[in-house]
Amino acid sequence: MSGKQKAHIELTLNGEATEVAFAPHKTLLEVLREDLGLMGTKHGCELGECGTCAVLVDGRSVLSCLMLGLDAEGREVETIEGMATAEGLHPLQETFADLGAAQCGYCTPGFLLVSKELLKTNPEPSREEIKEALSGNLCRCTGYLKIYEAVELAAARMRGEEAEAVKETIYGYE
């Protein structure tokens, strides 16, 4: 990067005031991974085609491979690293882990953040609404079914219901 001046921005990253300097042409994905050391955000294409690199910017899901790091100035950015708190995992992380919604786990951060955005706006989504919300994220392992079930279970628990996984999804049908 010889001769190129670094850009410097301030943003709120996972709830914390953060400063970062980086080559100005870098995408948010690159800034997060390379300049902020947050490797939880993954990349599948870097062309905006797979949803793997999704993060939340001001609460809305954004493909970090299509957003310039510079555009994060003054914004609130949430990555997978910020989803669990000192109190523990987010209910979505819990159900994704327990139901096997993460197989290889590579697309998982993107799915989790987009699901979180969905449940914030729609606490009781139908199966069709979940499919619609997650249609921009590709997963090659699960066939998506365990992901739907994990979102539904987490949604129920976040509504305060004492919900458990559906037996047939774990043991198959009789």
Binding site: I80, Q93, C104, G105
Partner: protein, 824 residues
């Protein structure tokens, strides 16, 4: 090896009920994966690390006249550039196909073939330098498909193989085919085509190499087969294997696409050796398409004789594989297109001829189901046509002629437990088949026109019976270390590609030692720390590592039992391991904690470590070519697909799949369900949309090397799945377990094709079943013609004299018969 009685009778520690096996525990690494903590290969950064970019050929087939790297080397920030001459030694996954150079030396064979590599201070500099490398090519005639490869002998893509551009020809005959066809009431011939497609793992391949000051090389790589990478690095880099450490990072999806040793792994290792700095490479998505090693396009001709009740009397199968530019696993793939036709329905006489061609395209290799989904598609679609001709129910024709359990097939595959019957029963009942399938009566349909239902079955190996390179050592090893604090560490060379193989090790060890699986530390896929496991391919991992883990754990339990029995003065046979305790079953209060038991054992025997290993049983087949197909066990699947076909647009929507899978025994049912659903998903993609295709008239360039244009199912295309797990324990599986990672993919494509026929009365004898093909067939039908879309002929090739083997029923001994000169 020692027998695993404990596992085989499906009981837990000392015969008690199972505490861990069969339970839906979360995976041992699940929370890391859901918090972004799992470290994939590209997440590794080391101090002073350089970044590598690989220049790839822009020509499909050409001689390299010259490479000029001077401008690139002059760019500030560039540390090293290498070309083919820096790495002259060839490699390849199979000993018979050592046909790849880490960087092409004098010839490029497809667009994407690696030509030169740069190491620079950052990725941008490496990219700029790569673009400054000047390569002069002299174009050669291209070979674009199977037909051309068979016809065009010169230029040859490789100087080895079975002549011209034919890589491999095989011809095997089991039993008297003429007699079989003479006995038949109906003989059908069909020609079908299965288009190639690719794995498309979400993670692009990446690797980091570090050649350290002590002259030891470490490579972290997203590979399914660290052991084979280890061997390839030693060979190509001319380093002692003992100075090389390969660590397979958790794979962000593999599906077979990370099972070959790859040029980029060798290249970064070499660059690190030259620069004495760590070097990383991360492929772009486009490059992943060029790595490929995916599903071979296969053209097939299947001739089957049947009795009036559908019993098969003989089968003659021909397959033509478009292999792409290199050998890869192709010889094995070729044999696999002929191996497993015999393990579902009884095929008393069987002939197989297979041909793999070299073409100027990215090399094909093993994708989920390796070489078997294509012939399975042909067989199951043909069986549907046979059922129609004989006016038989397609579910019943399958159910009635199953291979018996614990039998040997005509091509000498030893079948163990066989739960296909119950799988069929479940999907037939579950889907309400009898009230939906119209019995071939289009005039009196039970479903509305446009709605259809179809069935297909399949089988898959639970691990290849033979290793990739000939040796008589175990296929899987496990080392177990128990420490005085009560810690248990299980070490195994297996690679977790998302299927949960790390967790399987923990579950099995926890079951035997009566502890919690989350108490166990699992270390895998590190050639310095873990005993060899051959890798995550051929659906071998649960069966083989599971058996090795079982043996290691039983040996450890034995040491603890002796020490505790002595301390407590109770008979050895009274001791049970459960709830993190070792206790007297007759007086459960008398006991010690697991940690205390380890202290007692260490005091008595010294440091507690045990090993276990697994070698598959010998196959009864002894003929040349008998190495592909044998397995310790076979899994079985049956699927019913319900589709909606829009006759106006040709769009096929799969609404629901009912699938029954014979898993033997679920080590973890939740993970088994995940593998079934994932397999159905991937099969759905292959059935409807996924294809690796090229512009034949434009330089054999890939049509769409991107995630957007290479169509794969999103949430909006994925169907509902109703899964039934059949547990028919196999004596060779740990606790009776069989595979699930690949088998359930196989019946999806033919079940969908058969359902499309039921829906609108056209046969699409080719996958993917795209709207264009459906419309073409519907138009054909509207004109009063056959209403079929598919290939019409196969190339006319001269096959070698078949190697003849008498079947077990004919009194054969598994060996080939002496060849006799035939004058005709």
């Amino acid at each position: 090896m020692a027998t695993n009685n404990n596992g085989k009778n499906g009981r837990g520690g000392n015969g008690g009920p199972l505490k861990v096996v069969g339970k839906p525990f979360r995976k041992v690494d699940a929370r890391s994966k859901c918090t972004g903590q799992t470290k994939f290969a590209d997440d590794i950064t080391l101090p002073r690390m350089l970044y590598c970019k690989i220049l790839r050929s822009t020509e499909p087939h050409a001689i390299i006249k010259s490479i000029d790297t001077s401008k690139a080397l002059a760019l500030p920030g560039v540390s090293a550039i290498i070309t083919g001459k820096d790495l002259p030694i060839t490699y390849g996954i199979l000993p018979v196909s050592q046909d790849e150079h880490p960087l092409c030396v004098d010839r490029v064979r497809f667009i994407g073939d690696p030509v030169a590599a740069v190491a620079a201070v950052d990725e941008d500099t490496a990219f700029d330098a790569m673009n400054l490398i000047e390569v002069e090519y002299e174009r050669l005639q291209t070979i674009t498909n199977i037909e051309e490869a068979v016809m065009v002998n010169e230029p040859r893509i490789h100087e080895y193989g079975d002549g011209g551009n034919v890589h491999k020809k095989v011809s095997l005959e089991f039993g008297d085919l003429d007699e079989g066809f003479a006995e038949a009431d109906l003989v059908r011939e069909d020609i079908l085509f299965f288009e190639g497609n690719t794995h498309l793992p979400m993670e692009q391949h990446a690797a980091v190499a570090h050649f350290d000051a002590d002259r030891k090389l470490t490579l972290w790589s997203a590979t399914q087969t660290p052991h084979y990478v280890h061997r390839a690095l030693a060979k190509t880099l001319e380093l002692p294997a003992s100075h090389i450490r390969v660590i397979a990072t958790p794979n962000g999806g593999g599906f077979g696409g990370k099972s070959d040793p790859f040029n980029h792994e060798i290249v970064v290792s070499k660059l690190s050796m030259m620069t004495n700095r760590p070097v990383k490479v991360t492929l772009t998505r486009e490059e992943v398409f060029y790595c490929h090693r995916g599903r071979h396009p296969v053209l097939m001709k299947i001739k089957t004789g049947v009795k009036r009740d559908g019993a098969i009397t003989a089968m003659d199968f021909q397959s033509f594989l478009d292999g792409g530019a290199y050998g890869s696993y192709g010889v094995a793939s070729t044999f696999y297109t002929g191996a497993l036709q015999t393990v579902t329905y009884n095929v008393p006489r069987y002939k197989f001829r297979g041909l793999r061609a070299f073409t100027n395209k990215p090399p094909c290799g093993p994708k989920r189901g390796h070489g078997t989904p294509q012939p399975r598609f042909a067989l199951e679609v043909q069986l549907d046509k046979i059922a129609e001709q004989l006016k038989l129910d397609p579910a019943e024709i399958r159910r009635k002629h199953l291979v018996p359990p614990f039998s040997v097939t005509a091509n000498y595959l030893r079948v163990g437990s066989m739960g296909l019957g119950p799988c069929i029963d479940k999907v037939v009942t579950g889907s309400d088949w009898k009230n939906k399938f119209s019995g071939w009566d289009r005039a009196n349909r039970k479903l509305p026109e446009g709605k259809g239902i179809g069935i297909a079955c399949s089988s898959y190996i639970c691990g290849a019976g033979l290793p990739i390179y000939w040796n008589s050592m175990p296929h899987s090893g496990v080392q177990l270390r128990l420490d005085r604090q009560g810690g248990v560490c299980v070490q195994c060379g297996s690679t977790d590609i998302g299927q949960g193989s790390d967790s399987i090790l923990a579950y099995i060890v926890a079951e035997v030692l009566g502890i919690d699986p989350f108490d166990i530390r699992v270390i895998t896929a590190d050639t310095d720390l873990t005993p060899v496991d051959l890798g995550s391919y051929s659906s071998r991992v649960t069966l083989m590592t599971g058996n090795a883990a079982l043996q290691a754990a039983e040996r450890a339990r034995e040491l603890l039992t002796v020490a505790v029995a002595e301390k407590l003065s109770v008979p050895i046979e009274n001791l049970s391991f459960a709830e993190r305790r070792v206790f007297d079953v007759e007086n459960p209060d008398t006991g010690v904690t697991f940690a205390e038991a380890v202290v007692l054992a260490e005091s008595k025997f010294g440091t507690i470590g045990t090993v276990g290993s697994y070698t598959p049983p010998r196959s009864p087949g002894k003929y040349k070519g008998a190495g592909v197909g044998p397995s310790p066990a076979y899994s079985y699947s049956a699927a019913v697909a319900e589709v909606d076909v829009d006759a106006a647009t040709g769009i096929v929507t799969v609404e629901r799949v009912y699938i029954g899978h014979d898993i033997g025994k679920s080590i973890n049912p939740a993970l088994v369900m995940g593998q079934v659903e994932g397999s159905v998903y991937m099969g759905l993609g292959e059935a409807l949309m996924e294809e690796m295709t090229y512009r034949a008239n434009r330089n054999v360039v890939h049509k769409f090397p991107s995630l957007l244009e290479y169509k794969s199912p999103t949430t909006l295309e994925m169907c509902d799945v109703v899964t039934y797990l059949i547990e028919d324990a196999d004596p060779n599986g740990p606790f009776g377990a069989k595979e699930v990672g690949q088998g359930p993919l196989l019946p999806i494509m033919p079940a969908v094709a058969n359902a499309v026929y039921d829906a609108v009365g056209v046969r699409i004898d080719e996958v993917p079943i795209t709207p264009e093909k459906v419309l073409t067939a519907l138009r054909d039908k509207a004109k009063g013609r056959e209403g079929r879309y598919g290939p019409k002929s196969v190339p006319d090739v001269e096959w070698p004299q078949p190697l003849k083997v008498q079947t077990p029923a004919e009194g054969g001994d598994g060996r080939e018969m002496p060849r006799v000169a035939v004058h005709s």
